[in-house]
Amino acid sequence: MNVIETAGLGKRYGKAWALRDCTVAVPEGSLAALVGPNGAGKSTLMNMAVGLTLPTAGTATVLGGQATGSPVALDDIAFMAQDAPLYRNLSVADMLHLTRNLNRRFDESAARQRLTDLGIPLKKKAGKLSGGQQAQVALTMALARRPRLLILDEPLSALDPLARQDFMATVMTAMADDGVSVLLSSHALAELERVADYLVVLGDGELRLAGPVDDLLAEHRVLTGPTATAGLLVGEFQTVQVRRAGAQAHLLVRDAGPDGTVPAGWEAHPVGLEELVLAYLRPGDGGTSAAAQNVPRTELTEVSK
């Protein structure tokens, strides 16, 4: 089952499209990383997934075909918005009580325990907490709702490196123990490189790349060789990006993978996730975006893990 499935999803505000023609399928149980620069449309996509915004074009369903924003979706999806908005004048204990009242399912005692373990005073007003503490409170409340899908909008930006590690560890444990699926956006890809199962790359409101991380890494490689013959290869391979550095050229190509042929005088290397994302965000000369290349989409069927 796919926890998030969109087809040609788009959102327009006035004349400008914040997101256009976005088609993704995030399988259950995965950690999906949503990356892209500021203004790429990450928050727009997330807002539509949680039902805060209605799409202008295309469709989006969650948790195996449920309508976004429906009561089932609201029950089973916990959302942590950017900057972890909390009611500033309410104490942390009040926020927990509030969340308990607004949901059918909430493990208040576990949430209190976790916050106490983290050293966050329950009586303190939420507005007086540090940014990192606010993020922890928001995450605690989201997890205590026992969701099947956790959607986190740039949760790491307010956290110091130690807190980031803690945060991610908590998320990973929830995934392992409770089977929670996670969609997490960030523009710091290095953090997610090791843990992401599924990748969505947005740039300028467009979908640049989407698919399971393993498949994507297997499908791409970097060919390094003399600049002179680079032009010939661009036509021959499905080239994502060309980088010329003096006499040498690096081509990021998408083809059948490491078993593919390597032209004479060239070398092939596997590509790292960060390099892959950057390439799709900035195709450079000789390359084109995913949409124009008609890159095959991930199959929208049951994907077993």
Partner: protein
């Protein structure tokens, strides 16, 4: 470093089908979030009520001595009359002017705070992704706060009507006069409810608190002027007549209230409301104000549903 976790949850599928989040949960939510406003409003109204009670007792006492004074044109009675004019009347008049502002101020402080504040601070991204859903959340809040305001102001207006009666009779003001009519019966509560509905709607439309407050003041003024200058003439309790003798005597509080006069051909017409029709007129005005409040509430919920973010 230890990994901080939550205990693993029991196997899914063992849970019974969940009922929707009950409405009564919103009682605590609404109270906790709007505690400050509700307490503040209650405190102010309580202080006002104490003032009305104390000054009302004085006014009634003074007016009774005025009425009981005989003979009416003696110097002693004239002195009592002058005293009333210099002490009780100014107080009553000042309160009368200030209380006209109460519905719109309550509406401006309470209305935008419900929705515009969530939008302005971004907390709607939390509140509207919780299990209860944003439509039920909005309906519960608007209904509870609106009802509370209507009940409180309804009570205060009864006290105010009693407080103002001596001054009203002293100045021979008709209960149907603008400013008097809207502060008694069910009208005051209805105007407050309408003001709150205007505030909540404009708060959701404009999405920022202070501009919404200012817009509420303006919109309410528009509705009130519409009622005073246009609508009241056409309430179906008015009577059209050519009988001039009804209006020939001096104007007393129980005289018919003239809405307008016009001439058709060579006959003069008067449109008036007899004082006996006070309550039907109250119900008509409270009625359309209630309908307006509900319509604005529905429009607000529609905006929440379709234009959340």
């Amino acid at each position: 470093m230890s990994v901080l976790t939550l205990p693993a949850q029991p196997v899914r599928g063992a849970e019974p089908a969940l009922r929707p989040v009950p409405w009564r949960r919103m009682i605590w939510v609404t109270w906790r979030q709007h505690r400050g406003m509700l307490i503040g409003v209650t405190a102010v109204l309580a202080a006002v009520s104490v003032f009305l009670l104390v000054m009302g007792l004085k006014a009634h006492h003074d007016y009774t001595s005025l009425l009981n004074c005989h003979p009416q044109d003696s110097a002693a009675c004239a002195a009592i009359k002058r005293d009333f004019n210099n002490t009780d009347w100014p107080v009553s008049n000042t309160v009368a002017i200030l209380i006209q502002l109460m519905p719109v101020l309550l509406g401006a402080f309470a209305g935008p705070a419900v929705l515009a504040r969530e939008l302005e601070t971004g907390t709607f991204r939390y509140a509207w992704t919780q299990g209860i859903g944003r439509v039920r959340w909005t309906i519960a809040k608007l209904t509870m706060i609106g009802a509370a305001l209507a009940i409180l102001t309804g009570a205060v207006s009864q006290l105010y009507a009693w407080f103002f009666d001596p001054a009203r009779e002293f100045e021979e003001m008709n209960v149907l006069a603008a400013g008097v009519f809207d502060t008694r019966g069910t009208d005051f509560a209805a105007w407050t409810l309408a003001a709150f509905a205007i505030g909540a709607f404009l708060g959701m439309l404009i999405r920022r608190i202070i501009p919404a407050m200012a817009a509420t003041l303006g919109a309410y003024l528009g509705v009130q002027l519409l009622a005073w200058l246009v609508l009241r003439e056409d309430y179906p309790v008015a009577i059209d007549t050519t009988n001039a003798r009804l209006f020939s005597g001096p104007s007393t509080p129980s005289s018919p209230w003239i809405l307008k006069t016009w001439t058709a051909g060579s006959t003069d017409w008067w449109r008036y409301i007899p004082v006996s029709r006070f309550w039907p007129m109250q119900f008509i005005e409270s009625g359309w104000l209630l309908v307006l409040a509900i319509a604005l509430g529905a429009a607000t919920v529609w905006l929440v549903r379709h234009r959340a973010a």
